[in-house]
């Protein structure tokens, strides 16, 4: 029986119609074998557009449908639903992409129209070979995994936990809090970071629905939407969490003092330590590489003094497998390494510091107790803040890091307030785009901060005049005055940009998600699906998707939580049936396919001496199909017949 195919060519307003002669495509399609009807319409995805298809299926008895419009990544679900609603199996539908990969790539109308015909022709030929398939429904595990305990992860965790769902929050460091815990004040309101962050951290620590796995990381992630298994590595803290009361006696007695990472190496910590007093969980960890017992085999002072016997030098790292229905990645960012930009002398010239180091100086519980001091212990009387270090720079990162303008102004305020110093800001453009940000800029201007529009060329200690002797000289072209200026100062603060974390590649691999060109995780759609990824059930939030300030990160954390909740509250999800299948009669039992499958979805049936695909595990990549020497394996909706039909139509 010949198929009855309906072809629908969308104008997409003028998006397609401007370069593709839709009428001519319809005429062409009408002439193709088995095409019963071909129509064009302004917007196929609109209700009337979908109605057209439904009506034809019912009235003309169409058995196959082709829609030529945008990318299937946009509207395939829309049309599949429409076809299904009209009583046709959704897999008897094929989409021809004549927008993203046709009308938008050329201005030549003739070429675009020819190409559209070729694409539509291939789809028509292919759809003939398509088969009805059943979608499988599987229950959704209601637990959610959140990776990263910065402000984004904290927000997401609390939102989900408050709705009554279980959250596993995995944090690499000994405590949650992230970068925000290191900051002194936050722009533009200048509230103290700790004052607004620590209550949230405490809530996470105490929440009955949140299981906090600190000092841990995700090493494996498998399964499919609604049913993932996450493998968590729990590093040994050498302190038993249940026993520890957080009294801090161990830390006090520990004889080893090393530079504190939390204080950017400006202050000290012990070998057994909490990064900062309000850490959550309030349990110290032993730094194995620094601990005297682990390095020299002697000491154990902490163990002697611990009143609860919580120190356990024998502790081993353990692994846990967690079952979750959705995952949110909130893994944050790294700061740009300022020593890469040699001309600013970071690491070479004393008193050139990074913005985060300034935050630690300024922080009341930081290494100087909140005083801004030079290396010689004196207060600076002139400070220069250099914007865009590593950002908007083709040598390093091309993008704008979004937060630096604002935090630089916050630093200008703090510096001025604490030292009375004259503050210079060297900027390329000032970006004060958020609520209350422009007003904050005005306030900083009124505090007599001197704004110099020009990217600093260098920071040098080579003096040219006696006034410059012993100072750091910032050289920059003042682009508003059109002159090169040399400003002698005591301290230079480098406003470093935000970068993808060093382990981003690894995390992307574990979770099978993509990264954008700048290295951050790639969202499904930059505007309309900013916290989704191409992988269903895996969401991203905060600065791991791109540089973000605190308000935006919190908003994304909450958005990702809503997305995850919406998924798990559906209770069940449908799975694409585009899995591999084996024709037992053709299978020679060579087992080549078994070794190729990355999901162990193929097993060998010893009694029948054939390979067997487990539908639930198969993700439908088709690698085994291409490898099968006897052509026994096929992939549903991507069968050889279907692909060859496309090939032939294109080449004809």
């Amino acid at each position: 029986m010949a198929e009855k195919i309906g072809v629908y060519v969308c104008h997409c307003g003028t998006n397609i119609a401007q370069t593709v002669d839709c009428k001519s495509v319809v005429d062409y399609a009408s002439g193709l074998p088995n095409v019963t009807v071909a129509r064009e319409y302004q917007y196929m995805c609109s209700d009337p557009g979908q109605e057209l298809i439904k009506k034809d299926i019912k009235e003309l008895g169409l058995t196959r449908v082709v829609v030529a419009s945008c990318s299937p990544l946009m509207h395939e679900p829309t049309f599949r639903r429409a076809v299904e609603e009209a009583g046709l199996n959704q897999f008897l539908f094929q989409m021809a992409n004549i927008r993203e990969q046709c009308s938008w790539i050329t201005e030549n109308k003739e070429m675009a129209t020819e190409r559209a015909k070729s694409i539509v022709g291939a789809a028509v030929k292919r759809v003939e070979f398509q088969e009805p398939l059943d979608v499988k429904k599987v229950p959704v595990n209601p637990n959610v995994l959140i990776v990263g305990g910065g402000i984004t992860g904290i927000e997401a965790a609390l939102q989900i936990a408050d709705s009554g769902k279980k959250v596993y929050l995995v944090e690499k460091e000994p405590t949650i809090g992230g970068y925000m815990a290191q900051f002194d004040k936050t722009f533009p309101t200048l509230d103290c970071a700790a004052c607004i962050l620590t209550p949230k951290m405490v809530s996470v620590g105490q929440h009955p629905n949140i299981e906090l796995l600190s000092y841990s990381d995700v090493t494996g992630f498998s399964g499919y939407v609604g049913n993932f298994t996450a493998r968590i590595r729990r590093r040994a803290k050498y302190v038993e969490e249940e026993k520890c009361s957080g009294c801090g006696l161990c830390t006090e007695k520990c004889p080893v003092s090393v530079p504190s990472e939390f204080d950017c190496g400006l202050g000290k910590r012990k070998a057994i330590y909490r990064p900062f007093p309000q850490a959550v969980p309030n349990v110290p960890v032993i730094d194995r590489d620094r601990c005297l017992y682990f390095t020299k085999g002697v000491c154990k002072v902490c163990q002697k003094f611990c009143p609860r016997g919580a120190i356990n030098f024998e502790q081993k790292e353990t692994y846990a497998d967690l079952q979750v229905g959705a995952a949110i990645l909130a893994t944050g960012f790294d700061l740009f390494d300022a020593s890469k930009v040699k001309q600013y002398g970071y690491g070479r010239l004393p008193n050139v510091i990074t913005s985060l180091e300034f935050e630690r100086f300024s922080h009341a519980s930081g290494p100087t107790g909140g005083k801004i001091l030079l290396k010689n212990g004196q207060m600076p009387s002139n400070i220069a803040i250099l914007h865009c270090i590593g950002s908007r720079d083709t040598n390093f990162n091309e993008y704008c890091s979004r937060v630096c303008c604002m935090y630089s102004m916050k630093i200008a305020h703090l510096a001025h307030e604490k030292t009375g110093a004259r503050v210079y800001e060297f900027y390329i453009d000032l970006r004060a785009f958020g609520k209350g940000y422009e007003e904050f800029y005005k306030r900083i201007l009124e505090e007599e901060t001197i704004f110099i529009r020009g990217k600093a060329a260098e920071v040098t200690d080579v003096a040219q005049t006696s006034a410059e002797r012993g100072k750091l000289i910032v050289v920059a072209e003042d682009t508003l005055l059109g002159i090169v200026r040399r400003i002698p100062v005591d301290m230079v603060v480098l406003s470093v940009g935000l970068e993808p974390r060093k382990d981003t590649t690894e995390i992307a691999r574990i979770f099978s998600i993509s990264r954008s060109q700048d290295g951050f995780f790639l969202e499904r759609h930059p505007k309309l699906a900013p916290v989704s990824t191409a992988s269903d059930g895996i969401f991203i939030a905060g600065a791991c998707q791109g540089p973000k300030d605190i308000p935006d990160s919190v908003a994304q954390g909450a958005a990702a939580a809503a997305n995850a909740l919406s998924l798990i509250d559906r209770k069940e999800v449908t799975l694409e049936p585009t899995v591999a299948f084996i024709d037992e009669k053709s299978c020679s039992g060579c087992k080549i396919c078994i070794g190729l499958c990355p999901y162990n979805a193929i097993s060998f049936d010893e009694s029948k001496e054939v390979s067997v695909v487990n539908d639930a595990l198969c993700k439908g990549c088709g690698t085994c199909v291409a490898a099968c020497p006897s052509g026994a394996i096929g992939q549903r909706n991507f069968t050889d017949d279907q692909l060859l039909a496309e090939v032939e139509a294109i080449c004809a």
Partner: protein, 295 residues
């Protein structure tokens, strides 16, 4: 095992003029290190600065002819002048990136039956010496270490900018490293990659002299007894204009300048004459006599 490497060698116009000694010493030390330099047959001007600044396309054509000749020899091209390095690399880079430019140049070259496919790599001798020969081999060749000779390592502005992926673009260290291998003591020299003012001497002398002065100031304040150069223009500028600087600013600089190849040659045991050091304008005799044995 002894290294043996073959390159085409592009001296550049400056080495035919006032900087003959650079050419002489470069050939000598390369030979000692097993670097076989064959002068590029009938090379032409690279199309540097003054040419590039007003005749962009034609400058690329000049570079392309040199590159085409080098490609025919199937060897990479070694240069000693950073301006030539930058210009030749720039043409290479743009012709690789820009299809239209590549075609324009290709059809122009065709008029003389030449073609360039883009396979030649342009390298500076300093980079080749440091990266290809390396510490161990260079140290074995040092027979007369420049022990505690305090040298300001001067790179000038074009060695790494903008194409110097082989070193830090703003604060190169390669020459410092090499000097240490030779037994010398490179001093802290923050102006190591700053402009010498060479091009300005004909067009704006006061600015040029100011730049020379700050370089000499910085070098001597950091204890340098001489300046090591890798650029012919920097070299002649520092050497020839010290008198003018002294006159203009009432200073009394007398800092000898030596090509890095001359310093290598000294450490390898060659004589001042063999290395062309006797042709210098400011004598290094006293300084070297103080530090280096039996010069």
């Amino acid at each position: 095992m002894e290294t043996h490497m073959e390159f085409s060698y592009y001296p550049g116009c400056s080495l035919e003029g006032m900087n003959k000694a650079y050419d002489k010493s470069a050939r000598l030390v390369s030979k000692t290190l097993g670097i076989d330099l064959t002068e590029l047959n009938d090379w032409n001007c690279c199309g540097a600065s003054a040419y590039m600044s007003i005749q962009e396309l034609r400058a690329h054509l000049l570079s392309a002819r040199n590159l085409a000749i080098a490609e025919r020899e199937k060897k990479d091209l070694v240069v000693v002048c950073p301006a030539c390095l930058t210009t030749l690399t720039k043409s290479n880079h743009y012709m690789g990136e820009d299809l239209k430019l590549r075609r324009t140049i290709a059809s122009a070259l065709k008029a003389a039956n030449l073609q360039y496919l883009g396979t030649v790599k342009v390298r500076h001798l300093l980079e080749v010496v440091v990266n290809e020969i390396g510490e161990q081999e260079i140290k074995t060749k040092v027979t007369r270490p420049l022990t505690s000779l305090k040298v300001a390592p001067y790179y000038g502005c074009q060695f790494t900018r903008p194409f110097g992926e082989f070193d830090d673009k703003e604060f190169p260290v390669m020459l410092d490293t090499l000097l240490k291998w030779l037994g010398a003591e490179p001093v802290n020299f923050p102006l190591k990659a700053k402009c010498c003012g060479g091009m300005l001497m004909t067009t704006n002398e006061p600015v040029g002299l100011g730049l020379v002065r700050s370089l000499l100031d910085c070098a001597t304040q950091n204890g340098a007894e001489c300046i090591a150069t890798i650029c012919p223009l920097c070299h002649i500028t520092l050497e020839a204009y010290q008198g003018n600087v002294n006159k203009k600013f009432a200073t009394s600089f007398e800092v000898p300048t030596l090509y890095f190849t001359q310093l290598m040659g000294l450490a390898f045991g060659f004589s001042r004459k063999e290395l062309g050091i006797n042709e210098e304008l400011i004598s290094s005799k006293a300084v070297l006599a103080r530090r280096v044995e039996a010069v």
